[in-house]
Amino acid sequence: MGFFAEVLIGGLFAGLMYSMVAIGFVLIYKASGVFNFAQGSMVLFAALTFVSIVEKGVPFWWALAITLVAMLALAVAVERIVLRPLVNRPTMTLFMATLGLSFIIEGLAQTLWGSQVHGLDLGVSEAPVKIGSISLSQFDLFAATIAAATVGLLALLFNRTRLGLSLRAVAADPIAALAVGVDLRKVWGLVWAVAGAVGLVAGLLWGARVGVQFSLSLIVLKALPVLIIGGFSSVNGTLLAGLIVGATEKLAEVYLGSRIGGGIENWFPYFLALICLLVRPAGLFGETQVERV
């Protein structure tokens, strides 16, 4: 039983980490309807920038502040230069544009900071801590706390602030929002900035977990099933979906995978997402689209 619990909890923690990345997607999709594939590169850019600045000797909190500013600038620049001219284009075109954008950001990151691998030390060790009969990694607990805090902050943002209200209005019906005087451009800019900040947090957590190197941007392929299951436009849904994906993925790898040869972690979440969609075609928490003839 202890083993099962360990796998399950390990999976839940991993799922939270996936959610961290997926939340960035959700924010942008909710506000501007764009599936931002470049989120992965933004995570990489954030991690790389932070690590390179720290290695030059800048103290931790200053480096964090500088990186945050850089991410905000990047996000706003992207929104203005790339996304605005492409408003109202079909989803696929936007998706492709963000794919092209990911090339640019990756190239930029490597031009600025080189292609070396770095370790990232956030001051929390990986050593396990025993709770009952289960050992949990300290770092996982730390990451889970941060993830929960982020989601909590975002929930506050959406439900208690003016910006959050505007955002929900824009997500529900952009034209109506325009009609009541919401400044779409400002909202978009702010949302992208927030997504950039979330990307920074995700970048730091993942960078500490696996090291800061190029394959960090491949995290996005793990976040996709989370997005699909949770529906593209719900932060809470993403969190829940992340937990589901993480847990089932790990359990399947251990119990199912050992029967059929292992290595099923890559495709299992996608099949899970497929089944979820067949049952609920807009994701667990997504909005069903109404079609009119």
Binding site: M92, A97, G100, F103, I260, L274, P281
Partner: protein, 354 residues
């Protein structure tokens, strides 16, 4: 008077058979390319430029039939290419009496079957969410071919190598031969696609793309149409995959058909233009030629100033920038851009100054 009569008759005949004359002219050009090009170009042109260009264009046509003409999104095209390649390899290996062309065809058929299976969810899932089905295919197929050695003739690494490319005792192994094989197959496939698209099947596809509820209302069988699209598209992708493995790379591992290749094909289709048959050719030219072009320029003019790593990053940034530029400029792709420019050129001296 006689002379006028003759010219009149000839002129009328030319008018009447104008369409067929165009076809004949086209056929002659193609035949010239097929037979004449091998004497003009060198290894590099064939092995590294023309063959990947043609194969990617064929894959682009396949994906375009599904996404451009039927409106079903798919991000896992490389998986179907892999199925085609491994299936063709399996047939050629185990039933060596079969001709190579037949093996290719059968590989395409197997890919079509697999494609239909992964196309089933499209009946229920619509819009952007449909990408989950092809993504599942992408990762699952990669895993299957790596995990089960039977597919690669029990090679421990899961790698397959091209069988001897011999058809009717004519050896196509040289770069020129591989080019001719690829060219012939791609041209034939495009002609078939052309016919499909302008037939009732194609019109059904476009109806489903434009508004499938309305299509259902007027009696088009939605599920059958969608599955047809998936099947035909996967057939083309499977064929392209077999060519990619055998005519281009020679040896291929399952990870050679990874998600980056899928994205490449998607790029080709979107940049070239959805819903057109020569769009993929333009897109393939963009994807294949542009990086090489950038690389050659960079190496020639900039290699003194920057080290290769920086050079490469700058090319990447430029490439991404050009993609975005073209998407902003003409979101319907290069095909439309060229058509618009052609129209402008045709009317040029007569248009009023802006």
């Amino acid at each position: 008077m006689q002379f006028a009569n003759v010219t009149l008759t000839v002129g009328r005949a030319l008018e009447r058979y104008r369409g067929s004359l165009r076809v004949v002219r086209g056929l002659i050009l193609l035949a010239a390319a097929l037979l004449g090009l091998p004497f003009v170009g060198n290894d590099y042109l064939f092995s590294a430029i023309l063959i990947p260009f043609l194969v990617l264009a064929l894959a682009g046509i396949g994906l375009n039939l599904l996404t451009g003409y039927t409106g079903q999104l798919s991000v896992g095209s490389a998986a179907f290419m892999a199925v085609g390649a491994f299936a063709a390899y399996g047939f050629q290996l185990r039933l060596s009496a079969l001709s190579l062309i037949v093996s290719f065809g059968l590989g395409g058929v197997v890919a079509a079957l697999v494609g239909s299976v992964f196309g089933l969810p499209s009946v229920r899932i619509k819009g952007f969410y449909l990408i989950v089905s092809s993504l599942a295919a992408q990762f699952f197929v990669e895993w299957v071919f790596t995990k089960f050695p039977w597919f690669s003739n029990n090679n421990a690494s899961g790698v397959i190598t091209a069988p001897p490319l011999v058809i009717l005792s004519y050896d196509f192994a040289s770069p020129q031969g591989r080019f001719q094989l690829t060219f012939a197959i791609v041209v034939l496939a495009t002609i078939v696609a052309r016919n499909l698209v302008s037939s009732r099947i194609g019109r059904n596809w476009m109806a489903v793309r434009d508004m499938d509820t309305a299509a259902a209302v007027i009696g088009i069988p939605i599920m059958r149409t969608k599955l047809q699209a998936f099947a035909v598209s996967s057939f083309y992708l499977g064929l392209a995959g077999a060519l990619w493995a055998f005519a281009y790379l020679g040896t291929v591992e399952p990870h050679g058909f990874d998600i980056d290749l899928s994205f490449q094909i998607l790029f080709i289709v979107i940049i070239g233009g959805l819903g057109s048959l020569y769009g993929p050719f333009l897109g393939a030219a963009f994807i294949v030629l542009l990086p090489i072009f950038l690389n050659q320029i960079a190496v020639k003019y900039l290699s003194g100033f920057l080290d290769p790593g920086h050079l490469e990053n700058i090319q990447k940034i430029l490439f991404g920038g050009l993609i975005i530029f073209f998407l902003i400029r003409e979101p319907e792709g290069l095909a439309r851009l060229i058509r618009v420019s052609q129209d402008k050129l045709r009317a040029w001296p007569l248009t009023a100054a802006r």
